[in-house]
Symmetry: C2
Subunit: 726 residues, 2 copies
Amino acid sequence: MDNKSLSTGGFTLPGEAGYETLTLELAKKWGADVIRDSDGTQLSDEIIESDYDIYSTLCLVRADNEWAKANPTKLQQCCVMSKPVTAATATVEIDLLEGYFKEQLVINSDDAPKEWWQVFDRTSGEEVPADKWSFDKDSGTVTIDGTTKWHRYTVNFFCYRIWEEISMYNHVTNDWGDKEHLMPIDPIHPEARDQIRDYLTKWLDSHPHTKVVRLTSMFYNFWWFWGDPAQQKFIVNDWGSYEFSVSTESIRQFEAKFGYRPSSEDFVNAGLYNNSYKVPSKFYRDWMDFINAFVVEFGKECIEMIHQRDKLAFVFYNDHWIGIEPYNERFKDFGFDGIIDGIFSGFEARKVAECPAVSVRELRMHPYLFPTGVNGAPSFLPGGTPTLECKSYWVDIRRAILRKGVDRIGFGGYLHLVENHPDFVDYIEELGKEFRQLRNLHHDGAPREMPVKVALLTAWGNTRAWACCGHYNHGNYYNEVMEAVSGLPIETVFISFEDILDGGIDPSIDVIVNAGLVDDSWSGGEYWKNAKIIEAVSEFVAQGGGLIGVGEPSAQRHSTQYFQLSDALGVDRELGLTSAFNRYPFEAKSEHFILEDASGPLELGKTIDRVYITNPDTMVLAANAATPTLAVKEFQKGRSVYLAGYKYSPANVRLLLRAILWASKNEAQLQSWICSNANTECAYYPASKTLVVVNNTEEKQSTSVSTDQGQKSFELEPFATLIEKL
Amino acid sequence: MDNKSLSTGGFTLPGEAGYETLTLELAKKWGADVIRDSDGTQLSDEIIESDYDIYSTLCLVRADNEWAKANPTKLQQCCVMSKPVTAATATVEIDLLEGYFKEQLVINSDDAPKEWWQVFDRTSGEEVPADKWSFDKDSGTVTIDGTTKWHRYTVNFFCYRIWEEISMYNHVTNDWGDKEHLMPIDPIHPEARDQIRDYLTKWLDSHPHTKVVRLTSMFYNFWWFWGDPAQQKFIVNDWGSYEFSVSTESIRQFEAKFGYRPSSEDFVNAGLYNNSYKVPSKFYRDWMDFINAFVVEFGKECIEMIHQRDKLAFVFYNDHWIGIEPYNERFKDFGFDGIIDGIFSGFEARKVAECPAVSVRELRMHPYLFPTGVNGAPSFLPGGTPTLECKSYWVDIRRAILRKGVDRIGFGGYLHLVENHPDFVDYIEELGKEFRQLRNLHHDGAPREMPVKVALLTAWGNTRAWACCGHYNHGNYYNEVMEAVSGLPIETVFISFEDILDGGIDPSIDVIVNAGLVDDSWSGGEYWKNAKIIEAVSEFVAQGGGLIGVGEPSAQRHSTQYFQLSDALGVDRELGLTSAFNRYPFEAKSEHFILEDASGPLELGKTIDRVYITNPDTMVLAANAATPTLAVKEFQKGRSVYLAGYKYSPANVRLLLRAILWASKNEAQLQSWICSNANTECAYYPASKTLVVVNNTEEKQSTSVSTDQGQKSFELEPFATLIEKL
């Protein structure tokens, strides 16, 4: 196949049995080189035996429901906190699964509750001794004696998960009716591993035409509690959390390896669990390490089996991805050939594009070919506008893949759903061609970057490079900033507080960004009480580094300051306890390099209120009533920028770029290879002397770019991509 | 004098030497029975010898500046935290008074710094050992050795106060030029007490015509740090804080009495000091008790001297009022004859009206006869509108004194300033008549109250009854609620958490209101971690009580809940650490008793965001996007109401009244003696069978009231008061 072809290749089509003609027609029109199946669809022999490469999806932990039904104690588990119940008498009975989805969870009473469970008085914060409570298996309730009236009580308990969550979602979304519920088995048990080996062997035997085994994914799904449908559909959904790797057996094995047994409360954490917004505890880091080592070890074995049959192994960067951790050291040991993720945004595209140790990086585009999207809105149902939807995602994804290329794109789901959307069918043909052009540019050589290196500082660091808590968390300042930088011509790295404590700040970093809310893992939470962190970041700025704080950077309720870096930032926040204090007056001055492209007031989304300047030298560039929303300060040889909020938008992308350049004293970088109109962006590929200019809006735009050959002007249609050889 | 006269009496006029004709003319026109002097004005013999009673202001601690100058170690002091300085090297020099107003403070180096001062590393939170720092008296600096780079350091040190703050304010506001700065002496020293006794004796000798000694006030001013004028005018102003009672000598005497010596940090508290928003510590309660006992003891002695000369002693409920505490047990021991306060609002009027143990309660109205008001805006200068200003205060004050009467009103300042404002001169004549009518109604008998008792629950309780942090703290939910209830026909009491811990909740209380922000003294802060409080309040509601939470009621970062009463309130708040969690969906239903007078969306001021319902039974009545702003819930036999914000306005007064009646199951109370139009209010005085209807707006209003004699309709001019015998 011609790797440079603009009409074919780098495209994965979801085939569908019963729609063979459509499958083959669209494969041709869209330039597909690969046909795949999806959860709920099969490929017929006609498709499998066509000339296309075949990707076959395989989810090993839900693949053999008969075995699962025969081995109920080998199902996956999780640790659950019952909903708080307020004591109205001296005895409280708690229905453990009240509020949860009973088709997802059943109580694990096989492992002795008194050994594994804990009961808490959440009013006093104290644990209730085991002799004060009892579990009734038949009713699924715990009865607590000697309760204090009006205190609230919860039970931490273990459950088996009896409906594999992704399959459950697909089942419910597509009304699969009485189709059997698939159950997830846990390879932590040797018997389950044996079964998976057997199953995989047979599966490989029976899939001679499969070129790529598309694993979705390894063994443990991200955390997803569903609710009692009468009350709420979902309780929690956290793409990064390991709660579904927790079981009595995994705890036993952890204890054998690490020498201590975590309690149920180590997982439940007073209802916070170990969610992505919580700064990970030492224990939780151990747990992630334990699961990661296990997943890599057994995953590697499965991949070797696939390779032995001369098939490739690609992994889906989602669903049962827990423990895979592409950005961690062990990932290369899997031996994956490719990685695929279903994405909507620029930061997610970068997450795939920069995945190490694989040969193929593929983006599964949206809308997924399902009647409705993940938020329940129609995609291909009447009322849906799949073409516009796809374009709006592409605008964000395109920015990112202008900077770092990927190898393939594709779709998933029910192909027949596109039949009534001829505009979508045509648009995807166009999209494929546009994608291939951009891919080819990267093959010729990397685009120009500004000589500026930005580090996003969080409690997660590189482990969650280009990731947050799942798909785009709108309103999360860190996610908004990450989305903005995903399309900037600037090197971006992800560092953690542990990195700083271990080895200081890499001197090649020019600007550190800290964005988040007090206590959360994105701002860094309790790390900001650690004087070593304050010393290191302050020294970095004092020596000439740039610091950008967004929202509540460095915030902790600690000592006299709230923003622990308030002396470098020049601002702090009133918490309501010092309302009687006056603050330095200021006048917002909008004449500043950072605001030179701004027209009209900043729209930073929801901003942090009650901010005040801590130093008469702090220069306020924008304010909302009496609260600064953008302020800058020199600190020793360095510069800092404070933004009280941030929302990804073309105007704010430019604002952030300017803030980065000002903070790092690289203002001159804006003089060339930058679009005059902030609604447009460009990338220059020196090896191929090619300039790409994109329109990030759904309106026409005029723009110009200062190049080596002088100023070039462009007129762009809505969403357009112009590619010009200079 | 005719106590029932509508044209004369109950009115205090500020006289001014040099304007004798004006003084006597206005005394007649306004119906004054008393003429007073003010800070900066004298009364001439012509005035003093007129037929009017004479109030003479006297501030004992700033009365004899010669003695003060001769005894600089007997000046009042305070403990100050220097502005934080960030270490850029291993040695840090701190200019202690940097940022402070050097005409207010001089460093006390008479009491050994190493014994009294403390130096802190505010980054680590640790104290710097005394051998690591040294004080240089000449430069007023502390040098710290062995500092850690980029940590920030502060010094707690003691100062003398060399310009008495109220006099300083009057001096600066009125451009008194080179008039000598008056200095406050501290009666904690026996020598100063002797001097005050001598001075008072001579003063009484020289004021034979004075009927009332108007003390302003006793000995210690509320806390008021001024700033370096180049940076900011004021640093902090807290009417309730005892910081200006602190001195090395008072600490020595405290230690002798209480058996322990507080450290400088006990006063400074990492920069919070002991401000009114901070939940008072055990130590601070001891300190207040100590100062209160001292002020009462020596104050009583002074008042006895005044009484021995057959003069009356009135006290000004402001300025040097610290330690007086009218709502505390000891207040009656002073033997004051009257109390006066300068007020703007309804809650302040109630503070005076309900002051115990005095015969005369007087409101000093605003605008004060100064060129500008306390916020610096013009009052009698060009651009000022003193009549409208006075009317707008009166609307709020009138609501309050409809419920609880006071005996007198008056003004203060420079009388000649009114000369160019004939409309003001005429309005005050009217105002005097209106005031006398209302006063007379109370003399005949109290107005009708609904059989509902509301308790405002704060960390301060009755000690700060009808008070917050000074004049109206707009935006402070507690203050906004207090202002609203000050004009409701409902008994209001103030309770503290210590009251509940000591004696439980008074069973006569129908509704508890908790309004404030997390950690602050108004919500109650850390008291909400105390299970005994949760038990008592929950039991109160469970047994049929009403609970109204405003803002962040019962909030603490503690255990699984943030609103510690979230089970009773039915709502809680997302802090950003559980953003991955879904919450129960709700639909706002506006058909509810509480909203029956509401037209259009609620305007509750700034509201708490990220509120969610914790129970499917919680009924949301109003919401702002996805966050409930008004929700109600039944809890056992009781009812709770949650308001995400609150702002005093006619519509919100009615909303709060309805919330109180709903929470206490007293909905039927709304069927009579209530205005149909929420912009108007009424009070009924059964003894005199008189109905008063007031218009709280500057527009005309129509309203009706259901009375014993059927529905009565009224048309009210802007701001009007209608008084009708039924």
